[in-house]
Symmetry: C2
Subunit: 285 residues, 2 copies
């Protein structure tokens, strides 16, 4: 049986502690690292991150937008960075937030989850505005090779609240159904509980800055990627309260800017990542 | 004052009729065109579409996923196709369905809407799961140069209904607010009615297969991109009923597969596109 994505993450977390380290070559961070805002600068930034994070964090998350802004040249750099992750044993979640339907969604799944694609990662992030069911081609392709799809459910930014808290229709007319975010969580849990051939394929992005919803996250069956720790105001202790009850190795706080400012020195960046991993490991166990 | 995206579309539609022709080099269509499923096949497909559509349709919509599935080599082909659109006077909407927050959304906006980007198009599509407000960097960048952002509101597929029809919170507790899709439409209309420096910057994707919502589409102030005509079962007459009241030149039925099967002969494809444009023009005026 194929080892599921959640299990692969849990094994990696047990070796290092729980942290998803962002690889975010923004204009601002390239400047901070004294690198040019060019494909060469992107490349240096990305490969330094991989070198620094290998062995000290379990999972990295290249932010696709920062590569895409340089067009095909930027995407070629991302291919190199993802290959370096594979060679270094770092699990990579491509933060692509793709979402579409039918053969178009198949094409996005193929780009990020097909082992033969130059952009293949261990998982991709996705948006479910078109319905969680529309993402099915990505779930199926991920499940086939122990890869994952991490669906944005409850985001760390304030602008998403009205939509994510909107109430779906209830089973009977006039009754209120679950909030959009809780509907998605329940549907993700069902996929992880036998809805797909491989357990633990589908994860959720849940901001570490948000109070709990009605859904019991301990039953999700997939990883929880939790942005918001660091610059966005979330703390390790806050994340621990929010995700109390979730099994060790299933919750990955995602830290980007507040960690990446420790560069460009790879030794300093490595030490900062190891320290963050240890802090989060103590808080979340 | 900068000419807004909706005005640019209306001028183009007045010359040819209302149609957004998809450029969808899927595996299936490449096979139908007897082309290899390689970057060379993509290139031939994309450039033939541009050659065939130039002068007979106002707007084309390259589907980014079908290029992205071939990694940086596919994205380099998309750069060529977008450049060919500019040279041919075809308005191009990059169907990217991107959506993120903060500096990440800025990066996506830069990729598709910055005149200096190799992937620059006249507009991009976007997903608002993280809130319409999170897309603001794209709206601002688009408005600065008469470009557009077309936000998916009411999709043509069934899986999106529960989320898009969910009820937002009302102004007073216990009252029901508008559905998610109607909230987005109202917020888009406000942006087009003075919320941005250029009128008509923000459009909406509304499936041509859906019955009207509570929002009066005539007041949107931006273009309506309407997929679903053709293979998904929508008709020109159905689109005319759904969008009755909307000004001529604001509604663009989006047709992809059912048109592209007329290839690979560029003359046959051109004739099919011209015919579709005429049919839609008669129905929608």
């Amino acid at each position: 049986m194929t080892e599921g994505f959640a299990d692969r993450v849990a094994v990696a977390v047990s070796a290092t502690g729980p942290l998803c380290a962002g690889i975010d070559p923004s204009t601002e961070l390239l400047r901070h690292w004294d690198l040019e805002d060019t494909p060469q600068g992107l490349r240096r930034f990305g490969l330094t991150c991989v070198e620094s994070f290998a062995g000290v964090v379990p999972v990295v998350k290249p932010q696709v937008a920062f590569f895409e802004r340089m067009g095909s040249a930027g995407m070629a750099v991302l291919e190199e960075v993802l290959a370096a992750c594979r060679q270094s044993g770092l699990l990579a979640i491509a933060d692509a937030k793709r979402g579409d339907i039918g053969s178009t969604m198949e094409a996005y799944a193929s780009a990020w989850l097909d082992p033969a694609s130059p952009l293949v990662a261990d998982a991709m992030t996705a948006l479910a505005y078109l319905g969680l069911g529309a993402l099915r081609p990505a779930f199926d392709l991920a499940a086939a090779s122990g890869r994952g799809v991490v669906v944005v459910v409850r985001s760390s930014n304030p602008e998403g609240r009205a939509l994510q808290e909107a109430r779906t229709a209830g089973a009977v007319p006039a009754a209120r159904g679950p909030a959009v975010e809780d509907m998605l969580l329940a549907d993700i849990a069902a996929l992880n509980r036998g809805g797909l051939p491989t357990a633990g394929t589908v994860g959720a992005v849940i901001g570490a800055t948000r109070s709990p919803s009605e859904f019991d996250l301990a039953g999700l069956g997939g990883i929880i990627l939790a942005p918001g720790v660091g610059f966005q105001g979330g703390t390790a202790a806050g994340a621990a309260r929010l995700f109390a009850g979730c099994a060790t190795g299933t919750v990955l706080p995602s830290v980007s800017r507040s960690l990446l400012v420790a560069g460009p020195d790879p030794v300093a960046l490595r030490e900062a990542a190891a320290k963050e991993c240890a802090t989060l490991g103590s808080a979340l166990t």
